[in-house]
């Protein structure tokens, strides 16, 4: 299983949902997982994270096992059984 964790304003968008688990399949990537999540929850979350060109929106940090996926292979980053994917839109102001 893969655990998806949601933080901050993103959690509000998802009706307060803190986390959920999705079954893992060989070849799963971060991008595929987000699409699966959208299909399961019927919440258009990928539109908030990815633009029509498949590029990540600035504003939400996506961490796979504590590492920002921009330092891995972005949406093509491979996920493994037991991984934790955290989505966190940080507060920008001071």
């Amino acid at each position: 299983m893969i655990r998806l964790q949601f933080y901050g304003l993103l959690r509000l968008m998802l009706s307060g949902k803190e986390s959920l688990e999705l079954p893992w399949h060989e070849g799963d990537t971060v991008g595929l997982l987000l699409e699966k999540f959208q299909a399961v929850e019927k919440i258009p979350v990928t539109g908030k994270l990815i633009d029509e060109h498949g590029t990540l929106h600035a504003g939400t940090i996506i961490l796979l096992n504590r590492r920002n996926i921009l330092h891995l292979k972005k949406l093509d980053t491979q996920v493994n059984d037991g991984d934790v994917l955290a989505l966190f839109p940080p507060g920008a102001g001071g």
């Binding site: 509000l12 990540l56 920002n68 940080p90 507060g91 920008a92 001071g94």
Partner: protein, 226 residues
């Protein structure tokens, strides 16, 4: 002189922290970058707590739109440099704290004075936050805070041991236009930042390599490891 009688001044907090922790506070020099909502309240709490010295960095002037959340300033300060008003107010609160003002924008050339023990990020834009982190010396503690709408986060890093700030926040761009923010969220998050700063001074940081994510709509506090 009552104002210099620290036994009286700190009598209530000494009941909680005791002499050893109070001495650690009294020996600490901190740099507070950004004197907006978070920085104004954080620097005030640190001065009230009895730190040795504060280096304050900001290039801004006080505006009417700051007054709802920036606790060091009033209507009479509009148009004045924040660092100078902050210095006056903090000195009025605790004249024993040495204040060093830096009327400057933090960029790639920014340097942190050697005497600074701990760096506090209360900035309002990612470029300056990343430049500030680059100026931090290896092994130095760095406490980050951010706020937006009714949420925010606090995180402690150690330069050279933790993931760098710009790697954690990679891809985050500054939102266009003014950032929505309320006074209550700023005060709460500044309070939590101050708590973490003091815990770090005591040698007991609670948020080292983990975000505390504060959601004031649902009144929830959650951790996110990094």
């Amino acid at each position: 002189m009552i104002v210099h009688d620290n036994g009286v001044r700190f009598s209530r907090q000494l009941l909680v922290w005791g002499d050893e922790k109070q001495n650690r506070i009294a020996e600490s020099t901190l740099l507070v970058a950004g004197l907006g909502g978070l920085g104004a309240t954080v620097s005030q709490i640190l001065a009230r707590s009895g730190v040795a010295a504060l280096h304050l960095v900001d290039e801004g002037t006080v505006a009417l739109s700051d007054l709802h959340r920036q606790s060091l300033y009033g209507e009479c300060d509009i148009g004045r440099k924040k660092v100078l008003v902050a210095e006056e107010r903090l000195k009025a609160i605790n004249a024993n704290v040495r204040i060093f003002v830096h009327d400057a924008r933090i960029d790639q050339k920014f340097c942190i004075a050697a005497e600074v023990d701990l760096v506090v990020d209360c900035l309002d834009n990612y470029n300056s936050r990343f430049d500030l982190y680059h100026a931090v010396r290896t092994g130095q503690f760095f406490v980050h805070g951010g706020v937006q709408a009714s949420q925010g986060q606090v995180l402690t890093l150690v330069k050279g041991e933790s993931q760098p700030l710009d790697e954690i926040f990679a891809g985050c761009l500054q939102p266009k236009g003014p950032i929505p923010v309320t006074p209550d969220s700023v005060f709460i998050i500044a309070g939590l930042m101050s708590n973490e700063i003091l815990q770090t001074i005591f040698g007991e940081p609670k948020l080292l390599n983990r975000f505390l994510v504060i959601d004031l709509v649902n009144l929830s506090l959650t951790f996110l490891e990094v």
